[in-house]
């Protein structure tokens, strides 16, 4: 639906969003630095959520389009059968099954 597309050019979008996304990028870098700096860093890096995060960063650079959807799919449970019980379970943001 081209009539509903943002009427701005890509350069205007870059102008509009560059600074706030530069800040977000620095937040991600400092998050990874923090994990390096704190004790038991290796244990944290072995966690499937950390591994999924690093995989997502690589995907960001390797994917040419629809990066958001690609990362959403990377973090998603790709199985199709219901689980037996949800007692005591909660969502954590990544799926361990995609890291094995």
């Amino acid at each position: 639906m081209p009539s509903e597309r943002c009427p701005k050019s890509a350069k205007e979008i870059l102008d509009l969003y560059f600074l706030e996304n530069r800040a977000r990028l620095l937040d991600i870098a400092s998050f990874l630095d923090r994990i390096d700096r704190y004790k038991e860093s290796e244990e944290a890096k072995a966690d499937f959520r950390y591994k999924a995060f690093i995989k997502a960063l690589k995907l960001l650079l390797e994917t040419d389009e629809n990066r958001t959807k690609a990362i959403q799919l990377l973090f998603s449970d790709q199985s199709t059968e219901p689980i037996e019980s949800a007692v005591g379970l909660k969502a954590v943001g990544a799926w361990e099954g995609s890291m094995v």
Binding site: M1, E4, R5, C6, P7, K8, I13, L16, Y17, N66, T68, K69, Q72, L73, F75, S76, D77, Q78, S79, T80, P82, I83, E84, S85, A86, V87, L89, K90, A91, V92, G93, A94, W95
Partner: protein
């Protein structure tokens, strides 16, 4: 501008928030039944909650000239105790008859378990028998894709329900297309840490167009913002979208969907 927020949990918000909604132009809201932050232990707890949604909140809202509607249902997080769930389902019809109740919601899945599916199937059957609108909660984070697909299959297996009378809420980039392609409405939720942002919501309009989309704050007791819809409207403005399109997304679209329930009226 006039805004309808089709998903907000005012039971968790202060009276000051009603004032903020009123002075910002959000004069019609709908509140789905949800998880209280803990599992309720008995049917009387649900009676109290449904009474609150259908009597107390409309009264609080009316002090600020805000129309308050609600949805009644059993949240999937409370579906593992099947006996209690069945007892709660038995009291739902009496509340569906109340004048500000728009249908079944938010019902759906959480961790995509067998008991959650059983309870969802029962609630879909109640909606089908009574020809009620349905507001679907899709699961959080890594469970969203699978839960959305399981829910789509379940509803499409019930021939009495028209997809145009169902909204799938908390849709995101990886689920929008499958929901929309089946003829359902979809809701985008502006919830900073676990769902979407104003920027990503406007991206969805850029990519998928403005038909069959509703945008909501889902403001509740966690990190959330009852004015998030207006901030997203402003994001559309910042990108140069016309006022008519903004009005369509934040007022006309929810009005069209919700007006399928004859009880719904807006300013």
């Amino acid at each position: 501008m006039k805004v309808i927020d089709p998903h907000i949990h005012m039971i968790s918000r202060t009276t000051d928030d009603y004032m903020k909604l009123a002075i910002s132009g959000i004069h019609t809201i709908t509140e789905p039944a949800f998880w209280a932050g803990y599992d309720r232990c008995s049917v009387p707890s649900f009676h109290d909650y449904f009474h609150h949604l259908t009597v107390v909140e409309p009264a609080r809202a009316s002090r600020f000239n805000i129309k308050h509607y609600c949805w009644i249902g059993l949240n999937s997080k409370e579906a593992e105790d099947l006996k209690l769930a069945e007892d709660v389902l038995n009291i739902i019809p009496e509340y569906l008859d109340r004048p500000t109740v728009l249908g079944l919601g938010e019902i759906g899945l959480n961790k995509n378990s067998r008991n959650e599916l059983k309870v969802l199937e029962r609630q879909i059957a109640i909606a089908a028998e009574r020809n009620e609108l349905i507001l679907i909660h899709t699961p959080h984070l890594e469970d969203k894709l699978k839960g959305t697909r399981l829910t789509i299959d379940l509803i499409l297996n019930e021939p009495r329900i028209k997809p145009s009378r169902v909204i799938f809420d908390h849709a995101e980039e990886h689920t929008i297309e499958e929901i929309k392609d089946k003829g359902f409405w979809f809701g985008l939720t502006l919830y900073p840490h676990s769902k979407g942002s104003p920027e990503r919501a406007v991206d969805a309009i850029d990519i998928y167009g403005s038909d069959n989309i509703c945008i909501n704050s889902s403001a509740d007791w966690s990190v959330s913002d009852p004015l998030a819809t207006l901030k997203t409207a402003n994001e559309m403005r910042r990108r140069g979208h016309p006022e008519a399109l903004i009005q369509k997304v934040f007022y006309e679209n929810p009005k069209v969907f919700l007006s399928q329930c004859p009880k719904f009226e807006t300013f």
